[in-house]
């Protein structure tokens, strides 16, 4: 690959803070302030390396999933079971959460409840400070198991502000963290990077935050993984506190489950003295038996593997073995709001497998950064605007970041009707727009509230047989006027230019269908 086409390593925005920071600074700004999807999508489309990386990776992972899902003759039954178990759990979530708290407590784990990100981070910082005691310098650190919940609450930055370094230990998360970057995928966060970029990041950054990459590091995957192993081992062996998420939390027993591929998660889960698990309240499952369904659905849907490589289950501390102090922080952070919407709540079944993302043709073109959200792709487009609301420009644009092609529903292991939810969220965005247009009065008739007015006018024509018949006649008049002059439309004015900039459009026909039918048929269908 030529140097010119390489993606520059994203640089920190907080350069003035850099000197006092413990960990690499991520890009500046909050995700919620990201540009609207179409704007950032255009930027991402202009990155040929990323497009190539994504196309290659997505094609491979899709094929693997298709193959292993097809191996099971009860795959559709498993999906139905996954849907049913999650629905039942969500329907009685209040009871299962109380049961989970009781079981966790009985197993020796301390349970904390957090309404939102701020509360969660305050609890976590407090727990880490307590665990670290008067430790100073490098020792003020935690190691992390890959976790979406901690990203959702931006925990790393909250810890950083409290002078605590949070080290990502998942290989891809490490690449993202060292690259001053943001994840672009929930399962393979550095999917937008290729090997030579990873090498560049390791060589440049590892030394600043711990053991440097070996000199002369090449782009062999095994060697890159080896460099990460050496860099991370230092941290695994030193850290007193580990922070994890959980894929499942079993109400009956108080068992937490982490499903991961590398074993780095298990290093965190077993080597630290204190383990803090940050768990979304929708992660609860009633019984251990329910895992039978999900431990089949999850690996086949996410990595395309029959069985997951490292599945850790633990039920409170065990004397003399592993972390002796365990905490669980159960976070709401918008989930009860989602639950209160009978349609929208279907998104809470999500087990974060990423199958919908991998199959999404829009995601494949633009990658995860276009979504301005911790969760990209179809699930992100329906979940994030529910968790955060549809008021920010990016959140209002996310439900429209899909062609509604439906490929996502077909692969979703818990049968979330993602296309329906996208439309449902569009409806919410529209309701918001209308309310705003009304509040703004006459001003609302102009851009950016023009859409409701256009749609209203269109609906009036389409619900009136008379107006529609007139419109079809006018359409073919246009066709007649143009007949013989041009064979196709080239560029048209805005907004149709959005279409014709890259596509030619044929001239309209000179006779509508209804005119032809009336000319050739009687109303009873007999030929004239």
């Amino acid at each position: 690959m030529s140097k010119a086409t390489q993606v520059p390593v994203r640089r920190a925005g907080h350069t003035d803070l850099e000197s006092t920071r413990r960990t690499p600074a991520p890009p500046a700004g909050d995700l919620i302030d990201s540009p609207r999807f179409p704007v950032q999508a255009k930027v991402e489309l202009g990155n040929p390396v990323q497009r190539k990386n994504l196309h290659h990776a997505m094609t491979t992972i899709r094929a693997k999933r298709t193959k292993v899902a097809a191996e099971l003759d009860n795959w559709e039954d498993l999906r139905l079971a996954g849907e049913a178990i999650k629905n039942r759990t969500l329907r009685h979530l209040d009871q299962y959460l109380v049961q989970l708290e009781e079981s966790l407590t009985a197993a020796g784990t301390t349970v904390h409840w957090a309404r939102d990100a701020q509360e969660a981070n305050a609890i976590i910082v407090g727990l880490v400070n307590e665990a670290l005691g008067d430790a100073e310098g490098d020792a003020r650190e935690v190691v992390k198991v890959k976790s979406m919940a901690t990203q959702e609450i931006d925990m790393n930055e909250a810890l950083e502000e409290a002078g605590i370094a949070a080290w990502e230990t998942d290989l891809a998360e490490l690449i993202v963290q060292l690259g001053h970057d943001r994840p672009s995928h929930i399962l393979v966060p550095a999917i937008h990077r290729n090997r030579s970029e990873v090498r560049e990041i390791f060589l440049e950054e590892m030394g600043r935050y711990g053991r440097p990459a070996p000199e002369g590091l090449d782009t062999e995957p095994a060697n890159l993984a080896g460099a990460a192993r050496l860099h991370l081992r230092e941290k695994f062996l030193r850290a007193k506190v580990a922070i994890s998420g959980a894929n499942f939390a079993v109400a009956e027993t108080g068992t937490l489950v982490v499903v991961e591929s590398e074993g780095n998660g298990r290093m965190c889960l077993t080597l630290a003295e204190t383990l803090i698990s940050v768990v979304g309240i929708e992660k609860v499952l009633p019984t251990v038996e329910d895992l039978e369904v999900f431990l089949q659905l999850l690996p086949r849907s996410s990595t395309g593997e029959r069985m997951n490589p490292y599945t850790s289950l633990w039920t409170g501390p065990t004397a003399g073995d592993g972390p002796q102090t365990m905490h669980v922080v159960l976070i709401d952070n918008g989930r009860t709001k989602v639950l209160s919407d009978p349609k929208g709540r279907e998104a809470l079944r999500c087990i974060r497998c990423s199958a919908c993302i991998n199959v999404c043709p829009v995601y494949e073109k633009v990658g995860g950064h276009a979504y301005g959200s911790v969760y990209p792709g179809p699930i992100g487009s329906v979940l994030t605007p529910q968790l955060r609301g549809v008021t920010s420009p990016v959140d209002a644009s996310l439900p429209y970041a899909s062609t509604l092609c439906g490929a996502c529903f077909d692969v979703c292991p818990v049968r979330i009707p993602l296309p329906d939810l996208l439309v449902h969220m569009r409806h919410k965005v529209v309701e918001g727009k209308k309310a705003k247009a009304e509040a703004d009065g006459l001003k609302g008739l102009l851009h950016p509230h023009a859409e409701p007015a256009i749609m209203k006018a269109t609906a009036q024509v389409l619900s009136s047989p008379k107006l529609w018949a007139a419109a079809t006649a006018a359409g073919s008049l246009g066709g007649k006027a143009l007949k013989g002059r041009v064979a196709k439309f080239g560029p048209l004015p805005w907004p149709l230019s959005k279409w014709t900039n890259a596509r030619d459009v044929p001239i309209p026909p000179t006779e509508s269908f209804r005119a032809w039918y009336a000319r050739t048929h009687h109303e009873d269908g007999s030929l004239k």
Partner: protein, 265 residues
């Protein structure tokens, strides 16, 4: 209009399959104005198979462009008009998997959104009797060989909504395979979306074009003369790129292929 006489070709008689059946044709709004050839071909094909084809003039649109943009309240009167227009017919047939999918998948939800139990009852009835042309031919008339003749190389794009909303399955392909003279080339990545997505193509024009370009490249790689699909707006999207590239591959609706006969050609 040419009505093929199947007996003269020594083939099983498909001509009587539709005898005694009256079909209400839902042309779809886009076909009515922009692509009249598809509903014309549907009419001719069904008449050739013995059906009586009526065109209820009150029809307009299925409402999909509005509901998929999030405009529920505005779509309700369109749904009501559709239901009232087609309520009295046993068979409502459209040359569009996407519009049939919208009727099937969204009209009940919109009747419920309006809180109108009466409308919901009418909609329930109409939805159950609405078919894509490929479904009507195979499921109702029981024909796969419709007596068509199309001596060309084609490739078939299964449109997303025909596959994943209307669930037409392999019916279009079975119908195409029974066409005499036709050569069907496999389309690589056939099940990937072409990037049209209704208002998506206006709201996200850059991504839409990038997706259409992939589809166009795959279509061109087949060396086909015609790109066949069951939805004209997807064809418009893909062929718009093909045309811009002067590829020479022509878009054609499956109904037009099935309506073609030796006599007509």
């Amino acid at each position: 209009m040419t009505i093929t006489s199947p007996t003269t070709q020594g083939r099983p008689a498909a001509g009587a399959a539709g005898a005694g059946k009256t079909v209400a044709l839902f042309s779809t709004c886009a076909n009515d104005v922009m692509f009249p050839q598809a509903p014309m071909a549907t009419t001719q094909l069904l008449e050739r198979l013995g059906c009586r084809v009526v065109f209820p003039k009150k029809q307009t649109c299925c409402g999909q462009p509005l509901v998929n943009t999030g405009y529920y309240d505005e779509t309700v009167p369109i749904v009501r008009n559709f239901a009232e227009t087609f309520a009295e017919y046993d068979y409502v047939v459209a040359p569009s998997g996407s519009c049939v999918g919208a009727v099937r998948h969204q009209h009940q939800m919109l009747a419920d959104h309006a809180g109108d139990a009466g409308l919901r009852r009418v909609v329930d009835g109409v939805v159950a009797r609405t078919y894509d042309i490929s479904e009507f031919l195979i499921d109702v008339l029981g024909v796969e060989d419709v007596g068509a003749y199309f001596p060309h190389v084609v490739t078939y794009h299964p449109t997303c909504h025909s596959m994943r909303v209307a669930h037409v399955g392999d019916r279009p392909m079975r119908l195409l395979q029974a066409v005499r003279g036709i050569t069907i080339r496999d389309l690589p990545d056939a099940d990937r979306c072409c990037g049209f997505g209704g208002t998506f193509s206006l709201k996200n024009p850059d991504v839409s074009v990038a997706m259409a370009a992939d589809k166009a490249r795959n279509v061109a790689s087949t060396g086909a003369e015609y790109l066949v699909a069951g939805d004209n707006l997807c064809l418009l999207n893909i062929s718009g790129v093909l045309r811009r590239q002067h590829s020479g591959i022509l878009p054609i609706h499956i109904a037009e292929v099935l309506a073609s006969t030796e006599e007509a050609s």
